[in-house]
């Protein structure tokens, strides 16, 4: 094998060795990105999606503004501990 071939083979293998190291670092980067995306990404999604309708519904399923409820209705709603999306 002549000198040029030996050196070209050497540089090809150097690229492969470097590629292996880059692959390993990319695996780490992908893993960390996934972890951050699954944590902070979820919070971002939660706060950027449209807010759910928090108004309670009357017997006919029509939303009732909270300010139109009297004190006892508001109090019973608070004490029931229902989430706003659970309706009346």
């Amino acid at each position: 094998m002549n000198l040029a071939q030996r050196h070209s083979r050497s540089s090809i293998m150097a690229t492969i060795f470097f590629g292996s190291t880059v692959f390993a670092v990319l695996c780490l980067a992908t893993l960390l990105f996934t972890v951050f995306n699954q944590t902070a990404g979820y919070v971002l999604l939660e706060y950027t999606t449209a807010k759910a309708d928090v108004l309670p519904l009357d017997a006919n399923g029509v939303p009732v503004p909270l300010e139109s409820l009297d004190a006892s209705a508001l109090n019973s709603r608070r004490q029931s501990g229902r989430s706003p999306t659970q309706g009346n």
Binding site: R6, H7, R9, S10, M13, A14, I16, F17, F18, G19, S20, T21, F23, A24, V25, C27, L28, T30, L31, T34, V35, Q38
Partner: protein, 304 residues
């Protein structure tokens, strides 16, 4: 002259702190040995009732693991362990060794000082994170590539691939240490004879570091065999005798985790079977460690 006088004076002097350190180190070594002996003893004690009911031959050759109908064949669990470990080693060995060669022989010192710690960060991430990574990222990618009808949600391929990534820094770091410990004089001799960097790496450095590299491979394999959380999360539950990496299969460690977390009556054969599996795992890893020690001794080169 003064120094000689000084050392002679110290020769007969009692040194209580030295003695305390000596006893403390002896105590630490004894505790670690006794702990190992205790673990093995417990494994053996709990596995003995199992092997009193199920013969070792039956345990090793039966094709099904179904404790409900008294079928205790380790083969399906062992096959799944083998599949995940082989896949992991197919990733970790070539990539780990190649990156070790790059870090040791090619990378400039500044880059090596950055890349090596970065790679070692991979080894510090808890394996449960890798398990979720396999389940939530790698499996959907595999399903996208090969088709969701072929790749189960839980499959040994994604578990094996991610396990390979887990073991990669371990092998890379150990191999890099072994390669770096080869004396520079050997490299310089080869360069003086006109060898290229690749020839020096492949024909001088790697053969000289073969004992360390083989030890790294065996330690990586032991890690793959004993790895639990990735396979418990991503490989699936339920024993399945298959070599198809797209199918769900339960490994030995995964089975132990799943069963020991449920309602299992103490002293039942199911309970004892877990210790039998543990003992089998212990024998495998002990054999691998013994092989590693043998290879280290066989190929070890001593340089002055």
């Amino acid at each position: 002259m003064t120094n000689i006088q000084y050392s002679t004076d110290l020769a007969g002097k009692r040194r209580p702190a030295e003695a305390m350190i000596h006893y403390f180190l002896f105590f630490a070594a004894t505790v670690s040995i006794l702990t190992t002996v205790g673990i093995v003893g417990t494994l053996g004690k709990e596995a003995f009732p199992f092997f009193a009911k199920v013969s070792i031959w039956e345990f090793l050759t039966t094709l099904h693991w179904q404790p409900q109908i008294d079928e205790f064949g380790i083969l399906p669990l062992f096959t799944a362990t083998l599949v995940t470990s082989v896949i992991a080693m197919c990733i970790a060995l070539p990539v780990g060794l190649a990156s070790a060669v790059y870090l040791s022989e090619y990378a400039p010192p500044k880059l090596r000082n950055i890349l090596k710690p970065v790679l070692e960060v991979l080894a510090g991430i808890p394996s449960v994170v890798y398990g979720f990574f396999a389940l939530q990222t790698v499996t959907p990618i595999l399903q996208g590539v090969f088709g969701s009808d072929k790749v189960d949600i839980y499959n040994t391929l994604s578990a094996g691939l991610v396990m390979g990534v887990l073991i990669l820094p371990l092998i890379s770091s150990m191999c890099e240490d072994a390669l770096s410990s080869v004396p520079k004089a050997l490299r310089e001799g080869a360069y003086a004879l006109g060898a290229t960097k690749l020839e020096v790496s492949l024909t001088i450095v790697i053969p000289a570091a073969l004992s360390g590299i083989s030890a790294a491979f065996i330690v990586g394999l032991s890690r793959a065999v004993g790895e639990t959380m990735i396979v418990a999360l991503a490989a699936g539950s339920g024993s399945n005798l298959t070599l198809n990496p797209f199918k769900s299969a339960e490994t030995m460690t995964g089975h132990i985790v799943r069963i020991s977390g449920g309602d299992l009556s103490y002293d039942s054969i199911d309970y004892n079977s877990l210790f039998a599996i543990g003992l089998f795992l212990f024998v495998i890893t002990l054999s691998l460690n013994a092989l590693s020690s043998h290879l280290v001794r066989k190929y070890q080169e001593v340089y002055e």
